[in-house]
Amino acid sequence: MPPPPLHFNAFIWPNGYHESGWRVVPDEARGVLGLPYYAGIARTAERGLLDSVFLADNIAIPEYRVEHLPQTQFDPILVLSALAGLTERIGLIGTGSTTYSAPWDLARRFATLDHLSAGRAGWNIVTTGSPLTAANFGLTEHPSHADRYARAHEFVDVVQRVWDGWEDDAVVGDKAGAWADRSKIHAPRFHGEHYDVEGILPFPRSPQGHPVLVQAGQSPAGIALAARYAELVFSGPPSLEAAVEFRRKLHAQAIAGGRSADQLKVLPALTFTLASTEAEAKDKSQRLEDLASPEFRWQNLLYVTGHDPDDFDPDVPFPQELLDGPAPTSGGERLYAAARERRIPLRELAQDLIGGASQIPFAGTPEQLADYILAWHDAGAIDGFTLMGTTLPYELETFVDHVVPILQARGRFRTGYEGATLRDHLGLNRPAGHQTGVASRA
């Protein structure tokens, strides 16, 4: 039996995922503010026959970041909408928050993207970790982790009902009669605990039926959400054994919920630096590290774990009173554990904790990376990777020009796109749509 296909998703970030990326690339530093930068990456990914490109989202910006990192956090769905017309096949995955969006509106945005791209849209479902966000959206406080996940389940339910408002064959287009058959239109009329959503979208069902659902949470609640809805998962632990176990458990949980394991693909984040020799790659990687700012590191560690860095003093240990409560995000648990164990200044603690729990760092040659990917794939740890090049577009270009051909030569990666939609690329079924007589879940 041939091995199952590999899948790759390219993460787009200004000048690369490493915080020092923008300082080492030869490009004009403001280039990341224009569409050509994004178009270049998407076209490179498409040239490499990757499954998708992916944009994260931050809907609150702690001001410390502007000093250290290029700031280009446009509305990701708009960037992908612009890319839709400039690309042919590559999948377009954007992040959207269930805590700070209205479900009808978000359903409309992703269904619009699916239409604009002829079936290449995916939605990365996040509940938004940063408490700073509340103040941008008029809330007095950021909802708790448990609250956010309770809402997320209902949110996704509603969105799917909105996407199913029109049956696939509702449009008749009879010039002497009706444009659409109204008996094939079913308003969601959803009245749940958190949301009330009444009406249909003002356009027919999208090409994929539902844009592909993506999830990247690490907490038990995040994993439960993924097992129930996600078709693509971007999370996974950094060691091979743990990754095998993570994927196995995720599949088991999905199967227990009545889903099929092959409809849930696991593509954990892979941070990588490539060069023609291993020594060169390690040097390149070290150079990025050497340029990194300790100031940025401690502030960023706090921010990504759900804190406002402006509230902290880096020269004293992490406040004891916070450690008495729960960590605000699953990523924060690692920080809290370390801070309980070592009462050293926050700045020093941060230096030891960087890298993040979820990223797999790699520095080496294309040949080594191909071996690495296949080892993980053969072990059943992954269906592929979410590629986080330390510098962009360079790491991605090297991946496409040098890693992809090796995988193809070994018969492990596609040599052409077989289908047109993101579901086609990933081998995911198209959801059936409205079932007459099926009662609302609410």
Partner: protein, 442 residues
């Protein structure tokens, strides 16, 4: 003679502004669902050196409309972003609601569009008239007119403060020092008003145009007041030169009241049109459209435009006396009520058939020469700075306009022959807003 060329903006509708347009065209009635339609219209407009193209918004739809009209009301900001990716110069105006949007999110979307398009973004500010929309957003009631406008005023103020969060020169991009932006040049909106609380800066610098161009099209006194206060383009239709001259003066006076120069506001009345190479041919084309119109659609649509419930009248009877006694409920209903009062035997269904376009607007049927005359007359008389074209059939009417009306206007020195600048502000001759001075504590 006006010191600026006539400004041209065209409405991109699904198959044309006339409700029967899809019935009389040869193409596939489902073709409007592909983005190619909007792209084609925009490219034709660009060939005609138009200032801008414009998309309306319907965040909700009455189900009855799906039978009568192609439904392709995708998220307009996304569609216009996709159009922007494959055009070079034409301005990109999308509609968005202040009643159902969140100001930080909306500010981000339009500023994103401005970056992605290289400074071609415009926001048509609406308060959303369709009452059914509230149920899609979980609200029990559609807010009253006065409420919506009070909210709109604060909303626009917040959005402008969000757009001014970064100074134009905040980005330093010093690779050697590792400083991307100067944090001291950020000024968080920190808005805490009656209706909105919005704290933080956007995750990217100030937009190329400073502020995307603000547009308004509401014709009620509150709408006109909002226009005078904020709008740089006004799309409100007027039926005659005299009324249009008076209206334009009124807007200028009101703008002066708010401390704005008269030339800060350009008026582009809505101009629905059908063309033919002879007047008889144009009339024939119009008759063909009217012959395939649905009287059922027309009376229900007229009821919606005049804010009369379908259960408040019998379409085969005249407008009930109690409605006449109560008086028109909207500014555009006045035209309809005036006729109903004059002609007490005309049924509401017959009234519906009179209005192929919005009551009280221009409605042109004729030759390119005649249309060029109308445009030139209005422009020379100071009745309009330009027009918002509402082609009755798309793309045909617009193609005919660009191929046959634009050359006449160019020959007469009325329309531009090439683009002088690159941004939407350049095209309309609008000043780029400086960052607002610090606001004193309220």
């Amino acid at each position: 003679m006006p010191d600026r060329p006539v400004h041209l903006n065209t409405f991109i509708s699904a198959s044309g502004y006339h409700e029967a347009a899809w019935r009389v065209q040869d193409n596939d009635p489902k073709a409007v669902l592909a983005v190619d339609h909007s792209v084609h219209v925009a490219r034709v407009a660009e060939r005609g050196t138009f200032d801008s193209v414009f998309l309306a918004d319907s965040p909700g739809v009455d189900e009855f409309r799906t039978q009568f009209l192609p439904q392709a009301a995708f998220d307009p900001i996304q569609v216009i972003a996709a159009v922007g990716a494959v055009t070079e110069r034409v301005g990109l105006i999308a509609t968005a609601s202040t009643t159902y949007g969140a100001p930080w999110d909306l500010a981000r979307r339009f500023a994103s569009l401005d970056f992605l398009s290289g400074g071609r973004a415009g926001w048509n500010i609406v308060t959303t008239r369709i009452p059914g929309v509230s149920a899609n957003y979980g609200h029990l009631h559609h807010p009253a007119h006065a409420d919506r406008y009070a909210r709109a005023t604060e909303f626009v103020e917040v959005v402008q403060r969000v757009w001014d969060g970064w100074a134009d020169d905040a980005v330093v991009a010093d690779k050697a020092a590792g400083v991307w932006a100067d944090r001291s040049k950020l000024r968080a909106p920190d808005h805490h008003g009656e209706r909105f609380d919005v704290a933080g800066v956007l995750g990217f610098p100030r937009a190329p145009q400073g502020h995307p161009v603000l547009v308004q099209a509401g014709s009620s006194p509150a709408g006109i007041d909002l226009a005078a206060r904020f709008a740089e383009l006004v799309f409100i239709g007027q039926p005659s030169v005299d009324e249009a001259v008076a209206f334009r003066r009124r807007v200028h006076d009101r703008a002066a009241f708010y401390g704005r120069p008269a030339d800060a506001v350009r008026i582009l009345p809505a101009l629905p049109f059908i063309l033919g190479s002879t007047e008889a041919e144009a009339q024939g084309r119009r008759a063909a459209l009217e012959a395939t119109s649905s009287s059922e659609f027309r009376w229900i649509n007229l009821a919606a435009m005049t804010e009369i419930g379908v259960d408040e009248l019998d379409p085969d009877e005249p407008l009930p006396a109690r409605l006449l006694d109560e008086g028109p409920r909207t500014s555009i209903a006045k035209t309809v009520y005036d006729i109903a009062r004059r002609e007490r035997s005309t049924t509401f269904r017959e009234l519906g058939l009179r209005f192929a376009v919005r009551p009280g607007a221009l409605d042109f049927t004729g030759t390119p020469e005649q249309l060029a005359d109308l445009i030139e007359t209005w422009w020379r008389a100071g009745a309009a700075d330009g027009f918002t074209l509402m082609p009755m059939v798309l793309p045909r009417e617009l193609e005919d306009f660009v191929d046959h009306v634009v050359p006449i206007l160019r020959r007469r020195g009325v329309a531009r022959t090439e683009y002088a600048g690159t941004t939407l502000r350049d095209h309309y001759g609008l000043a780029r807003p400086a960052r607002a001075p610090l606001r004193h504590a309220a």
